[in-house]
């Protein structure tokens, strides 16, 4: 007879979530998060990110769902399993922090230590507060703490339960930019010692890329794509994802054909070489995009001699100063298609860029990414 305390060998030590329903909020979500991994749920407001988090915590009851954490089934609608939030070992940091306003910072943390022997609670809560750089503020009430400090108390309280999963619901949205940058560093430091899965809900792609190992892009309650931040941003699965991850240069084209190492893309009467993508049939209509980092501006005083990849000529139509960079819009050919690229202010000056200037751009083959046509 197998010992019941030993988990089955197939048990996944991380977090597995499958949610599906059509109303009142449509959901079609599948994700998994390994111990120590930070998975960011990214999407516009109303995309269902917080609902996913609340379903994991047991605060929302999805129509169909499976939530398994560290081998324990928390939710299995098919088999009538539904654990209460109290029975699930979760640490949740709310967007508003939801600290208990009538308790001190220390009492807030100790409130989540029902599982710890009474005599040990105080010392452990003090340890946690110290770990989050809150020494000396133990006896303050939440109202007497700054936004950043409140957020740290909320994180300390979430960890006080020794959770099996850490859930962060837009935890940085209520603090100013400088504090946010500081808290990013603290969270990055903190997670080095955490061996549990962490779900981070955010609508800020930059924040997600900074903090997460994996991005999961959500729209209308559906997970559209999951992958590393670099992969999702450079190789979105669809035009929809490309738009959500802020890829600006998206165009329609035609696959002309393949050879051993390359695929040939037709656009505006030009032929571009791209990475080999045998998954697209020749003559298939496609959408393609290129991240700004793969668009190079040729120096006008030192024109390259023909060996550059995918050169395109165009005319500068707009130069919009944005801090240290200038957003340059270049019209390509007579159709009015435009490529926008940020260039550094000094580069724009050295190249005497102004509206009407003719420029040559290189679209690096490695950067051109093909997607199914919409």
């Amino acid at each position: 007879m197998p010992c019941p305390t030993v988990p089955a060998p197939s048990a996944d030590p991380g977090l597995t979530v499958r949610l599906r329903q059509t109303a009142p909020i449509p959901l079609d979500v599948a994700l998994s998060c390994r111990p120590g991994e930070v998975l960011a749920l990214v999407g516009p407001s109303g995309s269902g990110k917080s609902t996913v988090l609340r379903s994991v915590a047991g605060l929302y009851r999805p129509g169909d769902g499976l939530v398994v954490c560290d081998g324990a089934v928390w939710l299995d609608t098919g088999n009538g399993v539904r654990l209460s939030p109290q029975q699930r070992s979760v640490g949740l940091v709310f967007q508003s922090y939801a600290l208990f306003p009538h308790m001190t910072a220390l009492d807030n943390v100790m409130a989540a230590m029902g599982h710890v022997a009474r005599a040990d609670r105080r010392a452990r809560a003090m340890d946690l507060l110290a770990r989050l750089h809150l020494d000396g503020l133990e006896s303050r009430s939440p109202a007497a703490l700054s936004g950043g400090q409140q957020q740290r108390v909320a994180v300390a309280r979430a960890l006080a339960r020794d959770p099996k999963v850490l859930l962060l619901d837009e935890p940085f949205s209520a603090v100013d930019r400088v504090t946010r940058q500081k808290l990013y560093v603290e969270l990055a430091e903190l997670r080095r010692d955490l061996s549990i899965p962490t779900l981070l809900v955010t609508h800020d792609l930059e924040e997600a890329s900074t903090l997460a190992d994996t991005l999961s892009i959500l729209r209308h309650g559906r997970t559209l794509q999951t992958g590393t931040p670099t992969a999702v941003k450079a190789r979105p699965d669809s035009v929809g994802v490309a738009r959500l991850v802020d890829v600006r240069n998206i165009f329609d084209g035609v696959v002309l054909g393949h050879d051993q190492t390359k695929t040939y893309l037709g656009w505006q009467g030009r032929t571009f070489t791209t990475r080999l993508r045998p998954d697209f049939e020749p003559l298939a209509k496609v959408a393609w995009c290129i991240p700004a980092s793969h668009v190079l501006l040729h120096r006008r005083d030192r024109p390259t001699r023909g060996d550059a990849e995918n050169p395109v000529q165009g005319v500068v139509t707009d130069l919009l100063p944005l801090g240290e960079t200038v957003r340059m819009t270049v019209a390509i050919g007579p159709s009015g298609a435009c490529i926008t690229v940020p260039v550094l202010v000094h580069v724009a000056q050295r190249n005497h860029l102004e509206p009407g200037t003719e420029v040559t751009l290189t679209l690096r083959a490695e950067g051109i990414h093909l997607m199914p046509s919409e």
Binding site: A57, G58, L59, S84, P85, Q86, S89, V90, G91, L92, F94, Q95, S96, A98, L99, F100, P101, H102, A111, A112, G114, H115, S141, A143, R157, A158, A160, R161
Partner: protein, 221 residues
């Protein structure tokens, strides 16, 4: 000064808030966080004593608790005496009359607790019972206190319903408000004045105390 009537009024007030405290917490909390069909009707019924003339309310209570009503007959079979014109009957009437004064402030107080704070308690592993004691009641405390003070003060001053349901039996149903009326009728202005002054002072004291306490509680939040 009719000390018996004063003592009767104070014990009627104490009984009323002792019964309304748990009732108000349960009902107020339920109305604050649950939405269900007919919630508007329930809230209207509970608010009815605010607008109904006390004599009308008193009349219906008299009829429904009287010896010819099922409730009155049931009570008589259990307790051995009738419900109307007794202190017990007065307590029942007082509780019903004070429902809106107790429930509404408590409902508002529970409504003011953010949903996320209650959810945070659940995510901290706190049981519903522990959440009530450690989070909800401390946060709703000013509203609960206001409800208790309002109900108590209102009980001391209630006249119409008490007269209809209790009559004016000294030591049983003759409260201080009725005693004042009684003294005025007997041209005993001295006693009426003393009792009125006492009630005025007492009301001022309780209401002042409740404001002070709830301001302090709010400052803590």
């Amino acid at each position: 000064m009719d000390w018996t009537a004063l003592w009767l009024s104070l014990s009627l007030g104490a009984w009323t808030i002792a019964i309304l405290l748990p009732v108000g917490i349960v009902v107020g909390r339920w109305l604050a966080w649950r939405s269900f069909r007919g919630k508007g009707l329930v809230e209207s019924l509970l608010a009815l004593p605010l607008v109904l003339p006390p004599t009308v309310l008193g009349y219906y209570l008299l009829v429904s608790m009287g010896g010819r009503s099922p409730i009155g007959q049931w009570f008589e079979s259990v307790a051995g005496h009738g419900l109307v014109f007794t202190f017990t009957g007065l307590v029942v009437a007082s509780v019903l009359v004070n429902l809106p004064f107790a429930i509404q402030p408590m409902q508002r107080a529970f409504e003011a607790i953010p949903r996320e704070v209650r959810e945070a308690a659940a995510c901290c592993g706190m049981s519903p019972w522990r959440t009530l004691l450690r989070v909800e009641l401390p946060l709703a405390w000013p509203g609960i206190l206001t409800a208790m003070v309002l109900s108590f003060a209102h009980t001391l001053g209630e006249f119409g319903v008490v007269l209809m349901v209790g009559g004016s039996i000294p030591g049983e149903t003759k409260t201080i408000a009725i005693a004042i009326y009684d003294r005025v009728q007997a041209f005993d202005d001295e006693a009426a004045g003393a009792m009125s002054a006492f009630l005025l002072l007492f009301s001022l004291l309780t209401i002042g105390l409740s404001y002070a306490l709830s301001n302090r509680a709010r400052a803590i939040r």
